[in-house]
Symmetry: D2
Subunit: 386 residues, 4 copies
Amino acid sequence: MVSTDTFLDFFIETREHTEAICKPLEIEDYVVQPIIDVSPPKWHLGHTTWFFEEFILKSYDPSYQIFDEDFSFVFNSYYETVGKRVVRADRGNLSRPSVKKVYEYRDYVTKAMIKLLESDTNATLLEVLEIGIHHEKQHQELLLTDIKYILGNNPLLPKYSDTFIEYTADKDEQRWLHMKEGIYKIGHNSTDFCFDNELGRHKVYLHDYQISNRLVTNAEYIDFIKEDGYKRFDLWHAAGWDWVQQNNVNSPLYWHEIDGKWHYYSLNGLTEIDLNAPVTHISFFEAFAYAQFKDCRLPTEFEWEAAQHLFTWGQRWEWTESAYLPYPNYKKVDGALGEYNGKFMVNQKVLRGSSVATPNKHARHTYRNFFQTDLKWQFTGIRLAK
Amino acid sequence: MVSTDTFLDFFIETREHTEAICKPLEIEDYVVQPIIDVSPPKWHLGHTTWFFEEFILKSYDPSYQIFDEDFSFVFNSYYETVGKRVVRADRGNLSRPSVKKVYEYRDYVTKAMIKLLESDTNATLLEVLEIGIHHEKQHQELLLTDIKYILGNNPLLPKYSDTFIEYTADKDEQRWLHMKEGIYKIGHNSTDFCFDNELGRHKVYLHDYQISNRLVTNAEYIDFIKEDGYKRFDLWHAAGWDWVQQNNVNSPLYWHEIDGKWHYYSLNGLTEIDLNAPVTHISFFEAFAYAQFKDCRLPTEFEWEAAQHLFTWGQRWEWTESAYLPYPNYKKVDGALGEYNGKFMVNQKVLRGSSVATPNKHARHTYRNFFQTDLKWQFTGIRLAK
Amino acid sequence: MVSTDTFLDFFIETREHTEAICKPLEIEDYVVQPIIDVSPPKWHLGHTTWFFEEFILKSYDPSYQIFDEDFSFVFNSYYETVGKRVVRADRGNLSRPSVKKVYEYRDYVTKAMIKLLESDTNATLLEVLEIGIHHEKQHQELLLTDIKYILGNNPLLPKYSDTFIEYTADKDEQRWLHMKEGIYKIGHNSTDFCFDNELGRHKVYLHDYQISNRLVTNAEYIDFIKEDGYKRFDLWHAAGWDWVQQNNVNSPLYWHEIDGKWHYYSLNGLTEIDLNAPVTHISFFEAFAYAQFKDCRLPTEFEWEAAQHLFTWGQRWEWTESAYLPYPNYKKVDGALGEYNGKFMVNQKVLRGSSVATPNKHARHTYRNFFQTDLKWQFTGIRLAK
Amino acid sequence: MVSTDTFLDFFIETREHTEAICKPLEIEDYVVQPIIDVSPPKWHLGHTTWFFEEFILKSYDPSYQIFDEDFSFVFNSYYETVGKRVVRADRGNLSRPSVKKVYEYRDYVTKAMIKLLESDTNATLLEVLEIGIHHEKQHQELLLTDIKYILGNNPLLPKYSDTFIEYTADKDEQRWLHMKEGIYKIGHNSTDFCFDNELGRHKVYLHDYQISNRLVTNAEYIDFIKEDGYKRFDLWHAAGWDWVQQNNVNSPLYWHEIDGKWHYYSLNGLTEIDLNAPVTHISFFEAFAYAQFKDCRLPTEFEWEAAQHLFTWGQRWEWTESAYLPYPNYKKVDGALGEYNGKFMVNQKVLRGSSVATPNKHARHTYRNFFQTDLKWQFTGIRLAK
């Protein structure tokens, strides 16, 4: 557990980073919601702010004046205990509060937080603060991937930045790392911050397995496409095959075939594909089918965690075969914060590692990310096992 | 047919009026599309501009440089002959081009048009110009009703203006105007502008009928609600009854029952309902059910046109019993402009008159407006007949 | 008005004819509902029986014992005044009551009706009886077209009959019949039976028009297909074009292209298309697009009625341009029978004439049939006008 | 591995048992498909027959004449390798082949199989035969639950049988069975038949846990309902809560509250609920919420298998917390039979045990059943763990 001072810096730096991510945006970009899974940037700005107002200022600062009563309705997300949530699909219809007003809200809450943190060193407060900061960091990742979706699905394909680097190509030859059968310990094991879903450190028994030293590349994935990977139902889950048919899926998200050559939209605009880059923006269904195509499989999250010190990770969230389930002795926190993780532990898959969109101090080897099996807009990737 | 000079003024005034309507908006308000029938204001600004670029500047001004090739894709609407249209539902996802850019586009095209009109007096050009101006006026009405929808469905219920007047209460007692059986002439009959759907002036035979001197008021409509009008299936078309059930319809659009009193959102914000105001924002299904409730019916568009000089109209578009169909000898214009009206002549109802949102010089007694039977977001009204 | 004796014969003959239509069916054929517009034959048998039980036996025969209380729930259709209807989509899920039980119900009610009719000559009863008989005749037509759909969409394509004749080819050359401008009288005008929607005989003013002496043939319709009729959006209503795209429509219902030759399923099984036969199983959207293709239009129902004595009709229900609307002075009957027609008078098109599926004594030149614009499973046809 | 003789008896007995299950049905009951998850009994009869024709007779009996070429199209299910499958939703529209014809098909194939088995002792054939028999046994269970759904959702609520016993009440007091931390072996471990998803026997590490000696009863589940279990979102997964809201779920399937008392439809008809019977027809979502309500959880499939010898099971399929995933070293069989299990290993939950609908010789403690989290029509149950 770190000191209040450190927390104050951490808090300020986090708030500033969120705003830095939005720097290149036009006001219009803050407002739209092209698909239900992508939230308008404006909403991310307001929601992360509302979290501090709702769970800290209202509880720990008796002198705090709520900025606007209506905002709790507009910027709540899934916290059913706090009040009636806005139907998520509606977020993209809300032109008001304006972006300017949302920034005023941020500023107002940030200042009130700083004032409070300078005077109060309550341990419970710090615990919630730490969650709030990491909550905002989670939204920083989503903010970036949502911005990519908003710009990358606009017919004008505007670039976000000239300097954002989506990957560094891996120079290593593909090798199999051999792991020995035995008991392994899984889960968080330090005094650093983690989410509740990483707790309940426990033993698992793993059989001999091999895991790849590197991620699947675009060149390798193009082989899959060329050899009819999207047309061979035997490679797919039944649900995955239906998804391919219904959505005419035939490539990763943001890929465009132009004059016989694969291009993709990145945050730097539309370019030809780099064959050496790790493939990204594929769903679990595609990751699984690719593994079948190679007569391999995806690792479980336990296999991944047990072997992760042997390979480089951090560019792409890596799909695992594991369903997102509670660890043994998982305990849901009481109250509204208890809704944070447990309620999503059904029909989703675990992703391990982190990505180029993951903010500073937010990646760790016990982190469990999770998404539905058809979603592609995160910087996902494939690491094979067998 | 008026002179080029007059047209130039008419053109400039129309362009300016569109922009005046948007004056009170925040940039964010230009971008959203809460339901498929409501277009983002930004799109109206661009689409009306694209019309002049596509049908006039590209054809009549050899020196004209297209502002941006992509805009034709973004701002086309239903003109299938000109190119692949954007799926309408997607309009609300487009953060770019920015509002600023769209205004630059407007300015660029307006100036090019003025330059062209000052030099060219080509009669065909003037014909298309006249259509373009009236096309923009149609969009002015939609712009205002779309803005009302965007703001009136925002949980903050922001007002549009302090001064916009949605109606003037009618002081007249309700009376029945008696019309005599006989042959009446229907359709446009002057050298003034009209749309193609008003042409083909022709005779219809009307039997004796009576038509009300004034519109149904909010007070009268509240009676319908109180006496279970929304619960008596015998008052409704089968399709209307299904619509009521599926959407839990129980009042006009924008009405809210607060502490037992009816309120509504108007362009001036949320207020108590004025009982003397003409009821508005009701669908054809509701207008029909209300007429049944009063043992009356809605007039046909022919009855309306034959009697319209006997009563005041112009506050509310008035639903008629008539389906939107071609007049005898209706001729579709050749080319892209032929798509303007004829292709919508199925499964819609005619509305006659005009509304408080109808711009200057755009109302006339032969005008045929038309909408699907479930739509409520226009300033619609009810006039009874029997 | 005819005598009770005649009515008794008419009643018995009608009841027998319904059962004769079902003769060739397997029990399984009585049960299924492949699309919402097609009812299971079992339901037709029960519903037409329920009509007599509900509206005659329960009101006019004090000694009558209801066959089964539950049947009123199962076999009611749209008569909201009589009780909560079964959701129509569910009809195809009901394995019980069994076909045997439904025939027992028919028999029970038919016998009770005969007994009643032999003793009672009440005029009101006879009026309802006449409606009931014609109601059953309407269902005879639907029964046959629903059976065709059930068998014609089964992958085994079982034939219904070897002898049913779907058309007699028209030998006449196509000619235009010229009709003179003037006032025409429209609507029922005799003491014979008609439905309420034919009443309110009234005058209409028609301008000069021409109407074809014969229906469009399969050969002519194949030209439309060959010349890209289904690919030229300019021929279609906007709603029709969407319907074509969404459903990949490219031919009349029941047509199959096998080895480059058009075949169709008729009640006699799968055969090559007869080029001289009148085209059938086309929607209003297709009829309209075909007329556009030929630079013609469809007649209004008034034009059809005014000219119908000049040509042969009766093989195909003929789509008209007219929306299904009430005639002037149309009066809805009080009570449950008032739901018969009026509630459907929105968003449907009128068909005139009759078809090979229309039973004996059920066709007349004032008859107004009506369907939604996308439906194809009736024996519809196209007669051009200009 | 058993002898051919034993297999022959096993085969014959299985074929006869399928037909015995259908004995009480009317022909109409064989045809309908009220929801997509419920197949028409006729289809089960045909599909289990087709399996023997397709995978045995066509491969191992050179003299075999296919009964009807079209049946492969009609009765295939998900075997994409064998041919284009029928869209599953369409099964309930097929009145033909008739029930009589399907029984002829069964008879024809059963006889051909007997003839073949009397002459051929090929080991590969016997392996496929064994799968075919167990495949038919799986369908026997579905047949019974599908019949329950078909009759139990008919407004007449016809009973299936007077003698079928849906449960025997458990007399034991609820107790917690304590299980020790350690390594356990999971998976099939004998020469008896099992499905491929049970293979890959492997070690798992379990921590200390407790598991209930008996299933949750109706009385206990009624407490959950009374104490607002369906209204407390904190008990539910987010996806479960959405499901409850969208479907207005408020009780197990087949439950009806009549005059303030809970009744249910069983295969014996409608009766008052037996409070001591194990609750059934609940989805995974409900099982999970109930466990949360009791501050417990559901066991994992590994915990269940490790403890199963300590309690009685076999009346209800028991929902587990485990997602349906491949065991380590799971190998998909080559060819069409490889589609049997692996393709469903995503977004489903494992159920362990068996039910009153499970046929003879089909239950074993390593059996892994699996369904989506919202399905209720199987005889599911709840066993708590902590």
